[in-house]
């Protein structure tokens, strides 16, 4: 294990993030920056300064919606969106938890639902998310309305070869 910067760069496997010269095009185009605790380009600087705890415990890394606007516009081809993916992965591996708890709970509910049937069963996945997050009542009316309109079915076809799906999860599991 090298420095925080070296670890992040190795995982990204592309242009080293210190190529950033803080033109702030990423932050300017980021649709979520208004809600973040640290701007995307600030996260790059913090990684260079070795501020592992602050970065992995930030809201920023969980709020990034992976819209890829930053990546597309960066004049130095720094893959900021991939950097956010890497930081999320590191936060999970190091068990620091997520500052935005519900965002991680959503991902966990989503992925565990795939493990069950190979495909997302939306009502089941949303129920799982609600149980994890304790947020039972939002969108209840809308959910009922969608169900009545036949948009969401309680039963949906599953992937038959679940062995291969589970094998993928097992081989990539940490």
């Amino acid at each position: 294990m090298g420095t925080f910067l070296e670890d992040v760069n190795e995982r990204i496997g592309g242009v080293p993030i210190q190529s950033c010269y803080h033109c702030r095009k990423c932050t300017a185009g980021c649709p979520i920056a208004f809600a973040m605790d640290y701007n995307p380009n600030a996260i790059i600087k913090m990684i260079q300064m070795g501020k592992r705890d602050e970065v992995l415990n930030s809201s920023t890394i969980w709020l990034c919606a992976s819209c890829e606007t930053c990546v597309t516009r960066c004049p130095n081809n720094v893959d900021i969106a991939r950097m956010m993916d890497v930081l999320r992965e590191m936060a999970i591996e190091e068990n620091v938890g997520a500052k935005e708890k519900n965002v991680l709970k959503f991902h966990e509910a989503f992925l565990s639902n795939i493990k069950v049937g190979g495909r997302i069963n939306e009502p089941l996945m949303i129920m799982l998310y609600k149980m994890k997050s304790g947020d039972y009542f939002s969108d209840l009316g809308m959910g009922m309305s969608m169900f009545m309109k036949g948009k969401i079915k309680l039963l949906s076809p599953r992937t038959k070869d679940m062995k291969s799906v589970r094998n993928i999860f097992k081989s990539t599991g940490k």
Partner: protein, 282 residues
């Protein structure tokens, strides 16, 4: 023409109108859809946001299954499209990763099939001239803004689709149907995507801005090609700015006079039928 078809999880659930309208339009345009055998979820945002290898392996399983038919793969959902294209991009450029994934799935990855979204197939393989020739009812009075969202276009070297700052393919399809495509600057702005459950307020803010800008552009509806964007547009807009939203294939079906569109409009959260009725389109 014949293509392999990957509907993905949303199109079998909250994106039902998209699945059904894609199928109806494909039939009318003589595009035969062969659903990929025993497909599984592409992993969407949740896989790549938490586990890189998983995010490549899940789409790879489906691409490998499609390779035996040697046909282009039509992927309507923008998230699935982006994940498939990303998986192909990484597998092409990283031999070690490819070997790893092949070991997991138990089959060879050849990298021979093209993954395409339906806007691309309809625009490039069918063409807007052909579309306007077979329009049964011109969508006059309909003033859509075309909302492409993020994942169909970015990163451009992965998606290999339309211009990533000012795409025009969906706009041109709308124009060919007789609708008045309105110009606006938010074609590729993010809707907030998968934050819709975990951070609903962020999505509301982004959607309200889109609705406001659409109105400013003189639009009376928004047309899109992504089930997550559609769900957010359809369910998260504030009452004072909301406009009805459509999947682009719903509007093609309407213009071609195909059966079934009324059933899809009934499923929308924001009922588009008052608008369509007022314009004499239904």
């Amino acid at each position: 023409m014949k293509v392999s078809y990957y509907p993905g999880c949303s199109l079998h659930a909250t994106g039902r109108e998209y699945d059904e309208s894609v199928k109806a339009v494909s039939k009318a345009l003589d595009i035969e859809l062969n659903e990929i055998d025993d497909w599984s979820c592409c992993g969407a945002s949740s896989a790549h946001m938490t586990n890189f290898k998983l995010s490549v392996a899940l789409p790879a399983r489906n691409i490998i299954a499609a390779e035996k038919d040697e046909l282009d793969v039509m992927v309507p959902c923008a998230a699935c499209f982006n994940r498939f294209k990303s998986a192909q991009y990484h597998l092409k450029n990283n031999d070690a990763l490819r070997a790893d994934i092949e070991g997991m799935v138990g089959k060879e990855y050849k990298g021979t099939v093209a993954v395409r979204n339906p806007i691309d197939i309809i625009y490039n393989d069918i063409g807007v001239e052909k579309l306007s020739e077979i329009v049964a009812k011109k969508l006059e009075g309909l003033k859509p803004v075309s909302y492409y969202g993020c994942l169909l276009l970015r990163p451009p070297e992965v998606c290999e689709f339309d211009d990533y700052e000012n795409p025009v393919t969906m706009d041109k399809i709308m124009t060919s149907l007789g609708a008045e495509s309105r110009k606006w600057s938010c074609k590729t702005d993010c809707c907030g995507g998968s934050l819709t459950l975990g951070k609903t307020e962020i999505v509301r803010r982004l959607i309200d801005r889109l609705m406001t800008m659409a109105r400013e552009a003189g639009a009376n509806c928004i047309v899109t090609a992504c089930p997550v964007c559609f769900a957010n547009l359809d369910t998260r807009a504030s009452e004072d700015v909301v406009l009805p939203s459509f999947y682009f294939t719903e509007l093609i079906a309407l213009a071609l006079g195909l059966k079934g569109s009324d059933a899809w409009f009934k499923m929308h959260n924001v009922d588009p039928r008052p608008l369509l009725t007022s314009l004499g389109l239904i």
